[in-house]
Symmetry: C2
Subunit: 220 residues, 2 copies
């Protein structure tokens, strides 16, 4: 498979690119609004992988070109760029769209879930996507810092939501290929709200408990 | 300490009563709207404990009487009975009030978080409580079935929220005394929303993944 990480130059795009390149045989392409930015990131990821003894090629392209050939397209962009990003690649999409973004708002107490009017950022992605594109919600709860650290062991669960069973299975299988990640079925897309709202809890727990950073979750 | 479990005849009240009686030296009192119901439950808990080789006395009383002497009062009642229950014991409270209830709504997709207008059920408890009563949010994410099974090992985390640092520490310490539970500080009471909304996710995951039941969470 080919996996494109739109906005893959930062945040969880970096960690997913590194771990997909290290742990799977899939072709990984970093997308960005500017080709040069994507190329710089891809080179940087290849160097980081080489430092860990992994010889892997990481592709780079502008977002629409990256999306064009991909079986799985991950929208690793901030929530407020999500609709624009989907629009910019809509004509080129032929694969599954994966939405990992979460709407967050900070006040003096901590971080809070701040979903868009449609109920979740994942639902927003589905609304913005072409009708024939299957949309899957996943990776909302992954801490970018630990994900991008190839020395870090994870052992985290990844709740996955989608209305299209095949698309959900494809993303779940892809996730299970990554060392230390276990995909769990969280039901239809309408359950994305409950998945996304775990993210601010993880950040609040990290902020309030000494020695806890970049938290993930294991359900059992 | 004396710990009262209002509505302690069912749901997580049962598991908390059993485990407090087994794992701590605190005095446990089951409260109910009817003394007889509380007494029956207390007798049943004592028998279950005896079956597990634990000789422990479990007290029983009507809710106001149970609340009167208690250092910690757990509101183990459904969300829609919470305000009424707090009102019924308001004149008798001298300890910390603990709110574990979550507002839930089911549709065809699954279970969803359905908070009251004040933002969380914990905030509702704080609103209903006398001004001088410290309110702590805890135990929202505990699966009642596994909690009440004295043969079940837990290893679960318990996010705790409160504005009163001493009250929060008391409840966290009490929680840490229970085998397999670890209290984590989730910040002020205003962060209760993010804690409560984990509960429907746990239930959705259990509903959609074979072999997963009565889920809890470990953060790391």
């Amino acid at each position: 498979m080919q996996v494109a990480l739109l906005g893959g130059t930062g945040d969880i795009g970096e960690g997913l690119a590194l771990r997909l390149a290290r742990d799977t045989d899939h072709e990984v392409v970093v997308g960005s609004r500017k080709a040069e930015k994507a190329e710089n990131a891809a080179t940087e990821y290849e160097e980081a992988l080489a430092d860990h003894g992994v010889e892997a090629a990481v592709g780079a392209a502008e977002n629409p070109e990256a999306a064009a050939g991909a079986d799985v397209v991950v929208l690793s962009v901030p929530a407020y760029h999500l609709a624009d990003t989907v629009e910019s690649v809509a004509d080129d999409l032929s694969g599954i769209l994966v939405s990992p973004a979460v709407g967050l708002q900070r006040d003096e107490a901590g971080l809070h879930y701040n979903p868009p009017g449609v109920g979740s950022v994942t639902a927003l992605a589905a609304q913005a996507a072409p009708e024939e594109t299957p949309v899957v919600g996943a990776y909302h709860n992954l801490a970018a810092g630990r994900l991008a650290d190839l020395d870090a062991d994870l052992d985290w669960d990844v709740p996955v939501v989608a209305d299209d069973a095949d698309a959900k299975a494809t993303v779940a299988d892809l996730t299970d290929e990554l060392a230390g990640l276990r995909a769990l079925d969280a039901g239809p897309l309408a359950n994305a709200t409950e998945v996304e709202s775990l993210t601010p809890l993880l950040i609040n727990l990290a902020a309030n408990n000494e020695g806890m950073h970049d938290l993930g979750t294991k359900f059992w």
